[in-house]
Amino acid sequence: MAIVAKVNGKPVSFEAEPDTPLLWAIREELGMTGTKFGCGIAACGACSVHIDGEITRSCSVPVSDVAGKSITTIEGLAAADGTLTALQQAWIEHQVPQCGYCQSGQIMAAAALLAKTPKPSDADIDAAMTNICRCGTYPRIRAAIHSVAGTSPATAA
């Protein structure tokens, strides 16, 4: 039985078996590849999406759980004409990505943080940004979040 939900504002109907992780339904059924597979056990965050506004690691949520819910992926952040959000622009401004593979998830995590905490402290950022970046772009991720929030890093870091 199809599972009906919304992805980036559009109604979708997933045909996947109910236990299929949302990640694979998004990637293989909808063909939207911005959401990445990293670990499969919710440890790395590369697959982060928003479900009804909550940051969620989609590799560990069965597609059956999202019936009737509204999902936002990295593809859904920018405006319909492709205009990037201030957060995405800050990512370019600070030249954050290196290999870039984890950055969809990092940006989704940062967007969720800023939606709830528009002026995050370093401690807020530490607590919210738990996705792994093997290239080690963390210092620039922190700087990009502060710049878009108009906050500054603690001086005594």
Partner: protein, 731 residues
């Protein structure tokens, strides 16, 4: 061949000195083959890597894979600099994985590093070097080589030579002496007459000229593109989800497969009952390979469920008794037998150690296997149709991948096309000689009528790695009454020596660095900065131990053993920038380390404390870097801070351990990678020494771990000699 390419990867010595520049023009057959691939009726190929369109577009066919280090942007800056190209019309694409695009300059670079006789290589004709590069399938990214070899010795020369051909063509058209012509932003200009000719309208004729190898390169004072923090080309697609990696390949009718390989490296598949997998909805096929089982399904989840339902029987290849402990024991035994595989250094260490009045200090260090843990697990797609095999994915060596796929499929190289995709991290892991998935996907594709994508699970990725080898070292030194080191001996055991790659630069009268070659069943890989991680940790930890034994400040003690020169300057600068010696808030301490590799010297100071659970936290880090010349400061800074974070991550928490021949870790849950909360604020400073260009992708990593271990000693008095650090410095 594997050995040769491996040697290149670990090479780090300077290239042919004295400003002799090689030219990547290719021989005539390569040019003609490349031309067929890139020329249209509206564009023209120069020296295989460059195409100028009649519409003035300039395309660089990069022979490197941008793994995320920004090298393609840097290479474009170097080409544009000498060509005087119009930056707005320049783009970079991956060179086709065809032998015409083999990296001749890299061939020259690594052959000279390998032979130790650069004079001979320097005298070799480029056509011969090209032949060698093509035979070795050389299209590699590694050895921090892109800008220092391909850029500096290839693309700058190609840009300058092409610019000269364009000027000569314009001189003929305008009927003026070439000396009256200048170039800027994609045009040849004649100031006297005010006339200008676009590169696009000169390209067809200029491409028929033979390019001169004797071209003057610009003085750094004239640089317009090099040295600028140009935004990287690849970043916009990486913030909106449109960047396409090997994992993202989708083809009509494609199936997805996953793999279970023998848990003990060297083991073979004995038998597998396919039924439990075939009973999983969506599973279509179970394929047995020599040492792995592949489950092919409609999608990844079904393939994974199918694979997990199987209970394949594997042999252990005779390696079932190997463990972390047995490897260390074997290394100790080799040291005790005292027959080194290779020795480097000068002076009579034995006599100096026995001299009257010296204090002899000893320390033993242990380092674990490390996994690359790149964020994108292996994913390759292949389709065999009408006698031709297409392969899509991200590899550090597309030409090598093509050769490996052809060999596995039993096809000629002309029957295989490799399509390079973006790479989600590599750090040395994605090289075809130890990337079994190339072999797997080629073999599976030959057995099925549809395109098939193999994805390795993270569990497979972690437990089937090509690891930084487990290593140990016994360091012994004689400390003289003058507070200086009289003798230094490093007896280290691991697969490779890394002696040329990681120079010992301290001024010590008697040095013996003795390598005891020890191998296990594990696959050895080039892990970011390769052997510099082990040498960096042991040398810089022991320098710190000697400083304390001599009652000296660790920076002052190192300076005692450095003559004026680049190393001394780097150390003094990092001490100054970090406020070395100034008071810190309670519970914090500083540590210092300096390592040279890939012709780049990096000094680092970290400020660390201990968290309540006894694990270290680094608050601030300072890096001073002498890589000769910086092409793109912002991108280079990113590489140094990324390397530093990866170095801290590995030093604090990472280890691959073995039991009964098999890896015990399986995912990020038990292979602990540093997260943002524990990443320091990093200050990176470059010294523009004008020395021969060094690498930038790797040298930021090695000093981080010893700098931290040294800081922890300053903080707690506990010396951590076995990595990872974890909570060993706990009170």
């Amino acid at each position: 061949m594997g050995m040769i390419r491996r040697t290149f990867l670990i090479g780090g010595a300077a290239l042919v000195g004295g400003g002799i520049f090689a030219v990547q023009y290719g021989d005539s057959s390569a040019r003609s083959q490349a031309g067929k691939l890139t020329d249209g009726k509206d564009g023209h190929n120069f020296g295989t890597w460059l195409r100028i369109g009649e519409d003035d577009t300039v395309t660089l066919y990069s022979p490197h894979t941008d793994i995320g280090q920004g090298s393609n942007t840097g290479l474009a800056q170097m080409l544009a600099e000498e060509l005087d190209a119009d930056w707005s019309k320049l783009s970079v694409v991956s060179a086709p994985a065809e032998s015409a695009f083999a990296n001749v300059v890299l061939g020259k670079g690594f052959l000279s590093e390998m032979s130790g006789y650069p004079g001979i290589i320097g005298a070799m004709p480029m056509s011969l070097l090209g032949m060698v590069a093509r035979q070795l399938n050389l299209q590699i990214t590694g050895g921090s080589s892109a800008l220092r070899f391909t850029g500096q010795q290839g693309l700058r020369v190609l840009g300058a030579g092409t610019r000269q051909a364009l000027i000569e063509t314009a001189a003929g058209r305008l009927g003026v002496p070439a000396g009256e012509l200048t170039t800027a932003d994609g045009k040849v200009l004649h100031a006297k007459s005010g006339k200008a000719l676009r590169y696009g309208e000169l390209a067809a004729e200029a491409a028929t000229r033979s390019l001169s190898a004797k071209v003057a390169l610009k003085d750094p004072k004239q640089f317009k593109h090099m040295g600028k923090s140009v935004p990287r080309f690849d970043i916009p697609a990486k913030v909106n989800g449109t960047a396409q990696y090997g994992m993202d390949v989708a083809k009509p009718g494609m199936r997805v497969a996953t793999v279970i390989a023998a848990p003990v490296r060297g083991g073979k598949l004995i038998s597998v009952d396919q039924k439990p997998a075939m009973a999983v909805a969506g599973v279509e096929k179970v394929i047995s390979l020599e040492s792995a089982v592949v489950v092919v399904a409609k999608g990844y989840w079904q393939a994974l469920k199918g694979a997990r339902a199987l209970a394949p029987k594997f042999s252990d290849g005779g390696h079932g008794l190997i463990s972390t402990a047995t490897i260390f024991a074997e290394q100790d035994k080799l040291r005790a037998e005292g027959k080194p595989t290779k020795t480097a250094g000068d002076g009579d260490v034995d006599t100096a150690l026995k001299a009257a009045g010296v204090k002899v200090i000893e320390a033993d260090y242990k380092m674990p296997f490390l996994h690359h843990a790149m964020m994108e697990p292996f994913a390759l797609t292949a389709h065999y149709k009408d006698g031709h095999l297409d392969v899509w994915g991200g590899m550090q060596d597309p030409l090598g991948a093509k050769a490996a796929a052809a060999s596995a499929a039993g096809l000629g190289a002309d029957k295989v096309t490799f399509h390079p995709m973006l790479i989600g991290g590599s750090f040395g892991r994605r090289l075809p000689m130890y990337m079994e998935i190339v072999d797997q996907v080629a073999r599976v594709a030959m057995q099925v009528p549809y395109p098939v994508k193999i994805i390795w699970s993270r569990e497979e990725e972690v437990s089937q790695g090509a690891y930084r080898p487990q290593s140990s070292a016994k360091l012994t030194a004689a400390l003289g009454g003058d507070g200086k080191i009289a003798a230094w001996r490093n007896d280290f055991a691991q697969p490779e020596d890394g002696l040329r790659e990681v120079p010992f630069f301290y001024d010590v009268p008697a040095v013996a660095r003795r390598h005891f070659k020890q191998v296990s069943n594990q696959t050895v890989g080039a892990w970011r900065s390769v052997n510099a991680t082990q040498h960096g940790f042991t040398t810089e930890s022991f320098m710190d131990e000697l400083a304390h034994a001599a009652g000296a400040d660790p920076v002052a003690f190192r300076l005692r053993h450095l003559k004026p020169g680049r190393h001394r300057t780097v150390l003094e600068e990092v001490a100054k920038r970090s406020g070395w010696g100034s008071p810190l808030e309670p519970g914090r301490a500083r540590g210092v380390a300096m390592v040279e590799c890939f012709n780049t010297i990096v000094g680092q100071v970290v400020e660390a404390s201990l968290a309540e659970d006894g694990t270290p936290k680094v608050h601030k880090a300072f890096a001073v870097v002498d890589c000769g010349t910086v092409v793109n400061p912002k991108a280079a800074e990113g590489q140094i801070l990324g390397g530093l974070v990866m170095g801290l991550s590995s030093g604090i928490g990472e280890a691959i351990t073995l039991e009964k021949g098999a890896v015990q870790q399986s995912n990020f849950s038990d292979y602990e990678v540093l997260k943002l909360a524990n990443a320091p604020v990093v200050d990176v400073h470059f010294i523009d020494s004008g020395a021969e260009m060094g690498g930038i992708g790797e040298p930021g990593l090695p000093p981080a771990t010893p700098a931290l271990a040294n800081a922890l000693f300053a903080l707690t008095g506990k010396r951590v000699r076995a990595l990872p650090i974890k909570d060993q410095a706990k009170a």
